[in-house]
Symmetry: C2
Subunit: 375 residues, 2 copies
Amino acid sequence: MKPVAPLEPSATLSYEQAGVNYELIDPLKVAAQRAAAATGAHLAAHGFKEVAASRGESAYVVDVGPFYIASIVECLGSKALVADEMHKLTGKSYYDSIAQDTIAMAINDLITVGATPLVVQAYWAAGGSEWFADAQRANALVVGWKRACDVCGVAWGGGETPALAGIVADGRIDLAASCTGLVNPKERLSVGDKLAPGDAIVLLASSGIHANGLSLARKLVERLPQGYLTPVLPGLTYGDALLAPTVLYSPVTEALYRAGITPHYCANITGHGWRKLLRHPASHTYRIHTVPEVTPVLKFIQQHARQDDREAYSTLNMGAGFALFVRSADAQRCVEVARSQGVAAWVAGQIEAGPKKLVIEPLAIEFGDDALQLR
Amino acid sequence: MKPVAPLEPSATLSYEQAGVNYELIDPLKVAAQRAAAATGAHLAAHGFKEVAASRGESAYVVDVGPFYIASIVECLGSKALVADEMHKLTGKSYYDSIAQDTIAMAINDLITVGATPLVVQAYWAAGGSEWFADAQRANALVVGWKRACDVCGVAWGGGETPALAGIVADGRIDLAASCTGLVNPKERLSVGDKLAPGDAIVLLASSGIHANGLSLARKLVERLPQGYLTPVLPGLTYGDALLAPTVLYSPVTEALYRAGITPHYCANITGHGWRKLLRHPASHTYRIHTVPEVTPVLKFIQQHARQDDREAYSTLNMGAGFALFVRSADAQRCVEVARSQGVAAWVAGQIEAGPKKLVIEPLAIEFGDDALQLR
């Protein structure tokens, strides 16, 4: 790690200053994606084929005949570091919450392609056997993991709990989840081929920062007089607000199916913030007319990191954790279905013919085609 | 990490002294497995059900009607530390080899239930964005990963490449793979229900230490005068011998299927060494009459760690990386099919009615029912 220079309190704190440099990672991602693409042909020997449009999407999809199989692996990221710090300050274990975050990272990606998540596998790699000796913490992890599986109606298949001294840092744990699901019936596939001008953009509320932007959030603590215990709202500390678990969106997508609504496309709003709305490769203009209220902890981060809206919306979810692209006739009902599952939602905009860009009208921000290079 | 006391050169080096304490990890595994088992019922809401016998097996299996879906997540473990040390000493990148190891950990587990691996997802969690700046190393990882996918005929679906400063140690990478496959036709399911006295035990050769026992192997380096450069055989250093990539066994299990042979059960011989032959919960006596020649690097480790056979066979694969339990009439043909795929194999023993134990006759070793507590 390059040492990160202490910041002037008045300076803007960007994601790169917080220690994550996508420019170093993205070339590897691209090389890996190209090599991976060349392996899709192997499926023919088994009588199957990949759904080519799922390459570069959040989950990979294979056509096995009667239905599609989708699979994914996702990690929590650095949110465990916040849980560890808050444990020191409050004595509470937050591992039940971050267990949910980890599963949400996998499930919320898997459902973007129209899949019903069926099986989750746990990947809990600790910095040494000693990590598991704290029975309270280990138990919280188990309890939170199971609860999230219950919410999503998935089977927890098993997993891997290695002790990786020397690879995972001492006293830490690297949490990840893999998930397998089915697109069934096959008409539920939502890889964007039906995405078209006129479609509505429905945004689903986030609960807070979810599990993306934590490097920035942790860096910001240095600027806060009371650190993680700085109040975001009366009675709610910054640390507790950050640790609100990520919303699990699969109950919404399953309820949409039962209501007869099949999204044309979905975007899980994670790293790169709202730029993820540009995820699909097609050239459309995405026009946002209604911006959800920003979750207090995200407003707080934006303020204290002195980010302008452009920086904030290109990094954080800013109150919207998931985007559904649906027929405009379905948009309002989509909002109602989400709300019936306890998730606030808004018809936030629509897709228009035009150059590929995202226009957030109420904030006078535009992101062009070059804002997101994931393929 | 507790500091590990320096060893007297004459003392036995056990796995626990090498820093891995299964007694701390196994209670969490058991708690997690119990919580996980309670989630299997969720599948009914989707019209599916779990294969209960796969609980506690190496891969989790769900009955989705026309076939079974199997899934798994597995990690490389600490072998990357050996690759990093050897890179310092030789300038070579070993990441193509350990990429294969990582995929082997997942695939060799998945195939135990009779599944054909279809999709692999990559989990490459680095200690910081800087890890990805070494293009030669990153490229070796991509090349080795793809080659292993090619050997196994699986599609590389995608993956996750997070930069996890503070969780993954600086300059290190935590490598894992998830794998999804199908048991198709369903008759290929091999979760042990047909396992019976009279069945033959066929062992498939390992290439060396594979990816289990590396903590011990790394600890041992302290005792070697030339460290990783100590010759195991003329012209073969200890480090290079350790880094022989794990054998990918799915070409063998696929060839067995084409030859009309369906194993009754399979065991991937990983952590806990040959005790993994006791994996299935049924009470049988597993009698070994033929012990494969021990791979030179494993013989070297046993010698220098001054382990007796009991300790060595309870920790390392000792030349046998995978066990097939087949009808005795199929045993010899099973060996031939494995050899046709370039993998040495032996009819090593048979299953007998009797108390649950493993008897390795040529070495006069027995492991009882209490030797492996995984459920």
